[in-house]
């Protein structure tokens, strides 16, 4: 099948799964920003999603998307390395026209996945998983309701090392998406001499707003815990 056999097909898979993940991030960011206004409103969203069937279907769908994106990333990186032959260049000049992020998508992706693991531990494990298992997480000897997202945000981002880890994670995400955004349109052919530049500008604005949305919640709760 061309989605597996051809190099263009493999890039199309990367771009379509990537696009779906960017859409997910957009929804996630919008929901997070509710926590800036009111913790109760944020908890209402947590309750609405929780371990209801539609949230579970969404979670499984997302897991599949991440897995495909991840497997294809490994595969493409491996093929690229193989195409270079036995030896690699000892000296490599970076061209001004080639983005730094585009050459480091794999490394950035690994940082994003590591951050994701931390994030799943901090939130998903204490929320949806507990609800599925019918148990509750215990923090400082206190049992936490699986839908009390506001508490978990307050708790997590009152610890400076988590704040630092999340800032690094979001920075890696910004670089990864600053290339991924326009590149996904390029891979499916919705780009050209005019639209390439436009997608790059749109992508930079979109991704910056996206990451700032996430970052604002982290920093808001961190500073709130200090002052």
């Amino acid at each position: 099948m061309w989605l597996i056999d051809s190099s263009i097909g493999r890039k199309v898979v990367m771009s379509v799964t990537g696009a779906a993940l960017i859409l997910f991030l957009t929804f996630h960011m919008a929901m997070n920003c509710v926590a800036l206004i009111s913790g109760d409103a944020y908890n209402a969203i947590c309750e609405f999603l929780g371990a209801n069937w539609y949230a579970l279907v969404g979670t499984v769908g997302l897991a599949v998307l991440v897995l495909i994106h991840f497997v294809y990333a490994f595969w493409l990186t491996l093929l690229n390395r193989k195409a270079r032959g036995r030896e690699r260049y000892a000296v490599n000049k970076r061209y001004d026209t080639v983005e730094w992020a585009s050459q480091n998508m794999f490394v950035l992706g690994i940082i994003v996945v590591l951050g994701l693991c931390l994030h799943l531990f901090n939130f998903w494990y204490k929320m949806q998983l507990q609800e599925i298992l019918g148990t509750t997480a215990v923090i400082n000897g206190q049992s936490i309701s699986p839908t009390d997202g506001a508490f978990l945000i307050r708790y997590t981002f009152s610890q400076w090392y988590y704040v630092l880890a999340y800032v690094v994670w979001l920075a890696a995400l910004w670089f990864h998406l600053s290339h991924g955004f326009w590149s996904m349109f390029h891979s499916v052919g919705w780009s050209g001499s005019k639209w390439l530049g436009r997608w790059q500008v749109i992508g930079n604005i979109y991704v910056t707003l996206l990451v700032l949305g996430f970052l604002s919640v982290v920093l808001f709760y961190f500073f709130k815990s200090i002052f």
């Binding site: 190099s7 690229n80 193989k82 270079r84 030896e87 000049k93």
Partner: protein
Amino acid sequence: MEKTISFKLKIWRQRGPKEKGQFKVYEMKDISTDASFLEMLDILNEQLINAGEEPVVFDHDCREGICGMCSLYINGYPHGPATGATTCQLYMRRFKDGETITVEPWRSAGFPIIRDLMVDRTAYDKIMQAGGYVSINTGGVPDANSIPISKEKADLAMDAASCIGCGACENLCPSRPISAITVNGISIHHNA
């Protein structure tokens, strides 16, 4: 007065396709800045032969920038730091006195190394031999010279036609060996 420079050459040496290669460093003294890069390599080879060593193998032919035979990846640039020029049109005035110049062969699975800096580029010939073409019934075709072509399209056609099949583009994107689109230009060249 003629200016001369001295520098270190770090060159990839590999005895055969299956052998393991490595960099070797050679000291070059008082080389004229008017020498071309290939002439400088000739001087090195003369020194090596006089010293009873194996000369460095590298590709070259016309030495006037049109045949596409010379290659070399110099200091991280295919064909060296000069833009729009092949290695034979690169002159030593581009380099500084005392600098270390790293010279590598093309590195692509599609171009296996034959020896030292020489790679096998027959993969490009295979594309030409494949001779892909499409037949389209165009009806009554007007004379080509009477069809006005926009500057933009003419430039694109020129880009394809100006490909000399040297294989430098493979350095940037060998994600699939021999996939560079402008390679088609070389077959146009040969058939013209």
